[in-house]
Every structure is written in structure tokens, then in C-alpha cells.
């Protein structure tokens, strides 16, 4: 039997690979977005710190801006963005 594919449609799903399911700051799922955003994905990305903790970028940036010292809210180590 011979099958001829006339057309096909590719479907893909995505999810963030993080060490946790929820953002520790806003408690929303990582695969969803922070409360200030409408759409998950590249508009509301995750960032990792050198300490390996992970947050929505908007959540952690808002927190770091309000603090005199830049520390991870999970472990209080100095916060450095991990650009891996």
C-alpha cells in the first residue's frame, strides 16, 4: 500500500523547564504569566539567578528595584542574572 501525504500541519507545545512549578513571588505557574501580563511565553519570560532560583522576570525586577541590596528573595544570596 502506498500512502501519499497531501498536506500536513505541525503542532508543538512548549513549557518552561524550571526547578519549580510556580513563581515564588507571584505564585502563578511558570507556564502562565505574571499578574501584570496577558500572554505567557516570550513576553513574560523566566530568569534564573546565579543561585539557581527562578522567577518571572517582571516579578524579580520589580522586587530588586524596591530593594537597596540586590538579593535573591529565596536564599538572600546576592542576586546575579545567570546568562547561560
Amino acid at each position: 500500500m502506498k500512502v501519499t501525504v497531501k498536506s500536513w500541519t505541525g503542532v508543538a507545545t512548549w513549557r518552561w523547564v524550571a526547578n519549580d512549578d510556580n513563581c515564588g513571588i507571584c505564585r502563578m505557574p511558570f507556564d502562565s504569566c505574571c499578574p501584570d501580563c496577558k500572554l505567557p511565553g516570550d513576553d513574560c519570560p523566566l530568569v534564573w539567578g546565579a543561585c539557581s532560583h527562578c522567577f518571572h522576570i517582571h516579578c524579580i525586577v520589580k522586587w530588586l528595584h524596591s530593594q537597596p541590596q540586590q538579593q535573591c528573595p529565596m536564599c538572600r544570596q546576592d542576586w546575579k542574572f545567570n546568562n547561560k
Partner: protein, 246 residues
């Protein structure tokens, strides 16, 4: 045919208005977060919550009835006010019950690290509940708001315990009286009598009641300074006069 179109239009309108209503009610970030906090709240058996307005999750009360330690048998009410910046700012927590405690002052301010300098947004209402409960089990004289209580706890634990027990018995009935401006004078008199009969600590309780009632009845009074001997109030000479008579 025309009828069909009008139906369609009608449905669209309904949807439109529903959406408008929905966006109006759209929960703020603080509301979303506090909802999650409260859903996951795991209260110890000594604690309970109360919502004066069930639709308002941002303002509620926590009641702690410690079952061990210096404060066993007491009932302490804390008010939580969650601001729009939660969780980037901690909730404002005040103790509404008068208590003789090194880390809680007479105006109800609570000294707990995670409510101030050590707050971080990964903490939840649950963390605060445990923090407050811990304050009653282990009062911390190292970081006092009520310095007298702290000094006493460090110098004489038994005396401290006696005063705590006495304050919980005498203080509470005294503080919980609802105050109207009319009955204020009688109230002060009663409390002054309590003060005169008892020892210095009772006097102190009567005085705090007095000042609290002033604060409750008029916003003009500013408590300038408090000590076990005297209170200075700004705004009314007569008050100060009456007060000195006590």
C-alpha cells in the same frame, strides 16, 4: 432573516457588557496572590481567621489563642491589611488586643523581623502566622518595643509571667469595653480606680486604656510620650489637667 441578525446583535451586546463587567472586577495582583495564600493557609490549631467583609480578602483578622508558654489562655486579635503592592510589601499587621509583651507596644505595633526589614515576597500569610505564634511562645527581649517588659523578662522571669497573667486578666476586660465619647469620662474614672487600687502595673494598664480611648475617640490627640508615670497629650489642656488628677 432580519430576526436572526437582531438576535446575533443582541448576543454580541450581552457578551460585550459581560466582558466590561468582568474587566471591572478583574482581580489585582495583590488580590490574586492573597487568594492563593489564603487557599493554602494551614493554620495551627491555636489560630483562626475572621473576615469582617467576606468579599474583601485584603482586610482580615487573625485570632491566636496560645495553648502553652507565658501567654497560654489568652486570646489575641491581629488585624491584617494587605496593600496593593503585596507581595512586594508585607501586610500591615497590628495587635488589637492590649498585651504585656516585649515585642508588642501599647499601640499594637508588632516587632517581627519578617513584617519589616526581613520581608521577602516569597513569604506568605502562613509565614507571618507562624512568626506571630512564635512571638507568644518565645518573646524576644533582645529586640524590644516594650522595653520595660523586655527588661523584666530578662531580669525576673517569674515576675514577668505574673505580670503577663495579670495583664491578660485585668487588661482584657478593661480594653475590650466598647468606648463611646459620652461614656469616656466614666470610663476613665473606672479605669483610674482600677489603677489606684492595684500595683504599679495595674495603674499602667489603666493609663494605657485611657490613652487608647483618647486615640479611639478623637484623632486630635497625639500621644507624645508614654511612660509608666505620665502621658503627655497635645491638643487639649483640660485633658492633661484631668489626666494629672488621675
Amino acid at each position: 432573516m432580519i430576526k436572526l441578525f437582531s438576535l446575533k446583535q443582541q448576543k454580541k451586546d450581552e457578551e460585550g457588557s459581560a466582558r466590561a463587567g468582568g474587566s471591572q472586577k478583574k482581580a489585582s495582583a495583590a488580590q490574586l496572590r492573597i487568594t492563593k495564600d489564603l487557599n493554602e493557609l494551614n493554620l495551627p490549631k491555636t489560630c483562626s481567621t475572621e473576615f469582617p467583609d467576606p468579599d474583601d480578602l485584603l482586610n482580615f483578622k487573625l485570632i491566636i489563642c496560645p495553648d502553652e508558654g507565658f501567654y497560654r489562655g489568652g486570646r489575641f486579635v491581629f488585624s491584617f491589611k494587605v496593600g496593593p503592592n503585596y507581595p512586594h510589601e508585607p501586610p500591615k499587621v497590628k495587635c488589637e488586643t492590649a498585651v504585656y509583651h516585649p515585642n508588642i507596644d501599647l499601640e499594637g505595633n508588632v516587632c517581627l523581623n519578617i513584617l519589616r526589614e526581613d520581608w521577602k515576597p516569597v513569604l506568605t500569610v502562613n509565614s507571618i502566622v507562624y512568626g506571630l505564634q512564635y512571638l507568644f511562645l518565645e518573646p524576644n527581649p533582645e529586640d524590644p518595643l516594650n522595653k520595660e517588659a523586655a527588661d523584666e523578662l530578662q531580669s525576673n522571669r517569674r515576675l514577668f509571667e505574673q505580670h503577663v497573667q495579670r495583664a491578660m486578666r485585668g487588661g482584657q476586660s478593661c480594653f475590650d469595653t466598647p468606648l463611646g465619647c459620652e461614656s469616656l469620662r466614666d470610663d476613665i474614672q473606672v479605669r483610674a480606680d482600677i489603677g489606684r487600687q492595684g500595683n504599679a502595673h495595674r495603674t499602667r494598664i489603666a493609663y494605657c486604656c485611657y490613652v487608647r480611648s483618647l486615640i479611639a475617640s478623637s484623632k486630635n490627640y497625639k500621644v507624645m510620650q508614654m511612660s509608666s508615670e505620665r502621658f503627655y497629650t497635645r491638643g487639649n489642656q483640660k485633658t492633661i489637667h484631668n489626666f494629672n488628677k488621675l
